[in-house]
Symmetry: C2
Subunit: 364 residues, 2 copies
DNA sequence: TGACGTAGCTAAATCCATTTAGCATCAGTC
DNA sequence: GACTGATGCTAAATGGATTTAGCTACGTCA
């Protein structure tokens, strides 16, 4: 029979129930209670009545086993255990986090020996409220973590908090931490250049209301580059969220208000796919009427119709830097670099290329 | 200064280093070592020299703090802590797992009180090798878990293992466990019906080489339904993996070998998007030449071109059942149901609808 | 000289669950 | 009646880190 746990009916703030209370309650020793709750009652020859009695008492009192106690006791002293985690906000693009976990797990699989074990997990916090996540400030949860997809509030919290375990920050720069991030400005600048080279006169940018460090950097660099090259301001479309419907709605709203664009940079994949829908529905051809540039962090971009030009997607490369960095910190190396900049690969695909070809055709 | 941890250079199987060894090594008491390693040396008035000495010894000996010990000590006896996890294979569609975590976190946010805390995480195992995941069989890691995306090998392992904590299985039926799953046969049967109603004479099915319980069920029901209704066997295309390129390759290989189809059921989203690519590239129109049905577990399906008809996507609904079920088990309720069947919603979109219209047009 | 303070450290208790060795008790056997 | 064996339970040690109360040695001041 599987073990089950109870929760107290009245939620006063009495101390949590331990096996000692149960023992006292049923008038037996903690040893007996432990044997029963660990399902060892058969080999320990505990009477069937006693088993029932203890199980009932546990349920009634709302016993919740203390895993720390169990683990401490179960600990084989020859193995050292590392608890690693990837901390990300719920609003994150999961595939990217998945990549990171994958890379971390690969590293861990290699490093695992008979006396060194690793546990890796993804844990999530509400964007902007990392400080509220239970355990971030405690030294008793993680041996090391990779933190990603934070908002400025989180960055601010981190900057002043100094977590009591090794940390690698993925995707932004926070003073006092080891950071791995996109080379600043690269994505925004390059996507602006791709659109301009494709002959766009009215480039625009689409982003979500919540700006992370990364998306904010992309946005800023895009605007600056367009301004420098054309002397004009690009249109800025803001969507309520990062999901396709919201991207589609933002583009639609822009057109309804009489906005014009012939080139669009979407700061995330999912916004690009939303934009595609509105552009097509409104009869605009990609890239003939509107060229589109997005980011290629997942493998979908190539399968858009037409395939999407991507000027980002450094996630792979960033993760490849971040994981070894974390291990160096775990090993206690002092010379770990404070900052690693990664230049993302660029894939020009039909969503801009055809138009470039047309441009050349017209000119030539 | 951040605390750092070392790993021994020689990996003999000596017992892991504790603060007692460090204490002995530097000729001081464990109390002093602890104060230093917990960065409490200032308020504990430890001499600067001593601090350095201890830090060096810790690094040299390869000290790795035992989190179980720390947590046990740090434990505030008024709070009970639940450690919950979602266990999934690496090969899983992450967005679905994300949905599950989201739902779990929402439940946890509600249940959290000043004396009940929850920690939730996603942990991954290599598909088919759940048994090798450290800690699954131990009673000292989780208070409860949701397991999903297992392969038959994993199911078999689970069926005989009886994990020592409450478990909810998502997406398949395993004897002895609480399971939440798609109503059997529904997806396969219904997608076959949709294709046949759209007038397809040569329906086919596309799946990955690795079949989970869910995909295997979809496949089987599809084949059976087609056989029953038409008396013929549907073509079965097998791709090497679940990613779009592999789906595209499988469909291409089928055509190269002279295969014919006018309706396709892809058992996952990502295979459908790959199939789209090959179909379009080979000049086939969707749904005029080939109608396509897929699953709609993520929000992308609506943004395919043309929008994809989906006959699945019960993930939301399944998660909505699984989470409360897990909490009932945590609470020790005996009457928790063993099995919850969820009927997925069906969305007919252009990838089949247009063709149905054409059918009616031709007939009428 | 003695009272008092302080810097620097330690002994011992504590957190919770598990396990081993062993103590009673009782039934059955020669 | 002494012995054996099984049954049902308990005392006490253990795992690793932290913290509190307190000890020692040295310096300061009246």
């Amino acid at each position: 029979m599987r073990q089950t746990f109870g929760v107290p009916s009245k939620s006063g703030s009495k101390p949590a129930v331990t096996i000692y209370e149960i023992a006292e309650h049923v008038g037996m020793s903690p040893a007996t209670v432990s044997s029963v709750l660990a399902n060892r009652h058969v080999e320990r020859r505990i009477a069937a009545d006693t088993v029932l009695l203890i199980r009932e008492a546990a349920a009634e009192l709302g016993y919740v086993p203390n895993m720390a106690g169990r683990r401490l006791r179960a600990h084989k002293s020859a193995t050292r255990q590392f608890d690693l985690a990837i901390l990300t906000s719920f609003q994150a693009p999961l595939p990217l986090v998945g990549q990171a976990l994958h890379a971390l797990q690969r590293a861990v699989d290699v490093q695992t020996t008979k006396d060194t074990r690793y546990a890796v997990a993804i844990e999530m916090f509400h964007a902007g409220r990392l400080r509220e996540k239970p355990g971030v400030l405690d030294a008793d949860r993680y041996h090391g973590v990779i933190i990603t997809n934070t908002l400025p509030e989180d960055d601010q919290f981190l900057a002043q908090a100094k977590l009591p375990y090794p940390v690698v920050i993925l995707g932004r720069r926070i003073p006092g931490y080891c950071c791995v991030l996109e080379a600043p400005d690269f994505v925004g600048r390059h996507s602006a250049e791709v659109l301009l080279e494709a002959g766009c006169r009215e480039p625009a940018v689409l982003h979500g209301r919540l700006l992370t460090h990364t998306t904010s950097d992309r946005l800023g660099a895009f605007i600056r580059t367009v301004r420098e090259r054309t002397g004009r301001e690009p249109a800025v479309l803001v969507s309520d969220g990062l999901q396709p419907p919201q991207g589609a709605a933002a583009v639609e709203a822009f057109f309804v208000q009489g906005g014009k664009l012939d080139g669009l940079f979407a700061v995330t994949d999912s916004l690009a796919i939303g934009a595609y829908q509105t552009l097509k529905r409104s009869g605009r051809q990609i890239p003939h009427d509107v060229a589109v540039v997005g980011v290629g962090d997942n493998e979908m971009a190539e399968y858009f119709d037409p395939p999407l030009t991507t000027v980002a997607g450094a996630n792979d490369a960033m993760v490849a830097e971040a994981v070894p960095l974390l291990f160096r910190m775990l090993r206690g190396e002092r010379d770990a670099p404070r900052e690693v900049l990664v230049v993302p690969p660029v894939f020009e695909r039909e969503s801009t290329l055809k138009r470039k070809a047309e441009q050349r055709g017209e000119r030539g």
